[in-house]
């Protein structure tokens, strides 16, 4: 409908609204900026977007997004390939890698078990993970799925699979955030923190 009234410009504004956190107002600002003030940038953006759409797929080894067959993390020989960190999304890979506490490789599930949505082991690529675990290359997996019921369920299932392949599995600790004051923490987080306590 917008298209009828305002033509291509209207369509562009409408399409920009697909972006997370972008409402009609900012979409309008973006559209005018791209078309009036930075036409070169706009052209590059359009080309890169199209090229990414065509070329970015899932890494054959870890399912992270990449424009190669094997992503740069998996092909980095400087990393420890015997430890695999299992995460729900590519954004989680980014987050863990930014923290630079982890020098191993990843496996991206692209979600968590969600039976009511029909998301099970196949959708999460667990067959591929199982194959990799069978390869004997992997000594340990670290389960970094979200601390939700579904994330925990997913971690539980993967730890069972790891056990069968005789691979050690551990779960990242969830609990009191750094700088967090106890009285402001909800009871289930606090429960988690107590259960996951360790000697000092």
């Amino acid at each position: 409908m917008v298209m009828d009234k305002k033509g291509l410009l209207g369509q562009l504004i409408q399409d920009l609204c697909y972006l997370p956190g972008v409402g009609p107002k900012s979409a309008q600002r973006m559209a005018f900026y791209l078309l009036q003030r930075n036409r070169d940038g706009a052209k590059r953006l359009a080309e890169t977007l199209l090229e990414s759409l065509n070329k970015v797929t899932r890494c054959k080894s870890c399912r992270n997004l990449t424009d190669q067959m094997i992503c740069s993390i998996c092909s980095n020989q400087g990393r420890d390939h015997s430890v695999v960190c299992i995460v729900e999304t590519p954004a989680d890979v980014w987050a863990v890698d930014q923290a630079s506490v982890f020098g191993g490789v990843f496996f991206v599930l692209h979600g968590h078990l969600s039976p009511l949505d029909g998301i099970g082991p196949d959708e999460l690529g667990l067959d591929l993970l199982e194959q990799r675990l069978e390869n004997k290359e992997i000594k340990e997996i670290i389960l970094a799925t979200n601390s939700t019921v579904e994330g925990e369920a997913t971690a539980q299932l993967i730890s069972e699979i790891a056990k069968r392949s005789h691979v050690r599995a551990s779960r990242i600790a969830h609990g009191v955030p750094m700088g967090g004051e106890l009285e402001y923490i909800d009871s289930s987080t606090l429960t988690h923190a107590f259960k996951g306590r360790k000697p000092i």
């Binding site: 039976p115 029909g118 299932l157």
Partner: protein, 238 residues
């Protein structure tokens, strides 16, 4: 739909979806108002305190007000017990998801069913306490259907109108019920077990599962239970 504020209403989270950038849309089973839709605004923001509270299979107390149409705005949520000691684990957890899917199919929005709420709570508790999952599920199914008006009439042979006998064999069809036949695939004991909700052996559990699957599929009128197939695959991996 209630216009007033509802305060500390007992409820369970049945299903949820992300909503916008930072909010969550929840399908909730409440004790007094049935299944309702709740919008939890800002729940997915990093510092939201509600995120750790609003989870499935945990008894909640929910406060909410009227929103748009059938949608209510959540204002507060807490756990009914200060801490939940033994969450569902393993197979029992996945059975919980299956139970949730049945609730979404067999309860209409805003149709109060305190007895279903009670049944749901009881079933979760038995699952949590390590009850045998298959018999727990069959009891939930047969009780749920009865409470929403699809009770099973399996005490009498549909043709002879005689009481079903433990040592005879029966055919079962959803529309007609049991009918005695030497080639019947269902034992009389299974029908007795379903009727009394007491499953004593593996065979009657297996047959009861077949019957309940037929009955549920019949009432779903072609809709599929997504969790059924998915859970079967999950359990294969366990």
């Amino acid at each position: 739909m209630s216009e007033r504020l509802v305060s500390l209403q007992p409820g369970f989270l049945i299903r949820h979806w992300p909503y916008g950038e930072t909010s969550l849309l929840a399908d909730v089973l409440t004790r007094d108002f049935g299944r309702i839709s709740l919008l939890a605004r800002g729940l997915r923001k990093p510092k939201s305190k509600l995120a750790g509270v609003l989870m499935p299979f945990v008894p909640l107390l929910l406060s909410y007000g009227a929103g748009r149409g059938e949608l209510h705005y959540l204002s507060h949520a807490e756990h009914q017990h200060s801490a939940f000691d033994s969450p569902l684990q393993g197979k029992a957890l996945f059975c919980g998801f299956y139970i949730n899917e049945l609730i979404t199919h067999f309860l209409h929005q805003s149709d109060p069913h305190p007895e279903v709420f009670e049944l749901y709570q009881q079933s979760l508790m038995s699952l949590q306490n390590g009850a045998e999952v298959e018999s727990c599920l069959r009891c939930f199914e047969v009780n749920l259907l009865e409470l929403v008006g699809y009770g099973l009439d399996i005490r009498y042979d549909s043709q002879t109108h005689q009481l079903v006998e433990a040592d005879r064999k029966y055919h079962f069809s959803v529309e007609q019920g049991p009918r005695e036949s030497v080639y019947g695939e269902i034992n009389g004991t299974t029908l007795h077990a379903l009727h009394s909700r007491q499953f004593k052996d593996k065979e009657s559990l297996l047959q009861a599962k077949k019957i309940m699957r037929m009955v549920i599929d019949f009432h779903l009128q072609g809709k599929l239970l997504k969790s059924r197939e998915t859970i079967a695959k999950i359990i294969k991996h366990m």
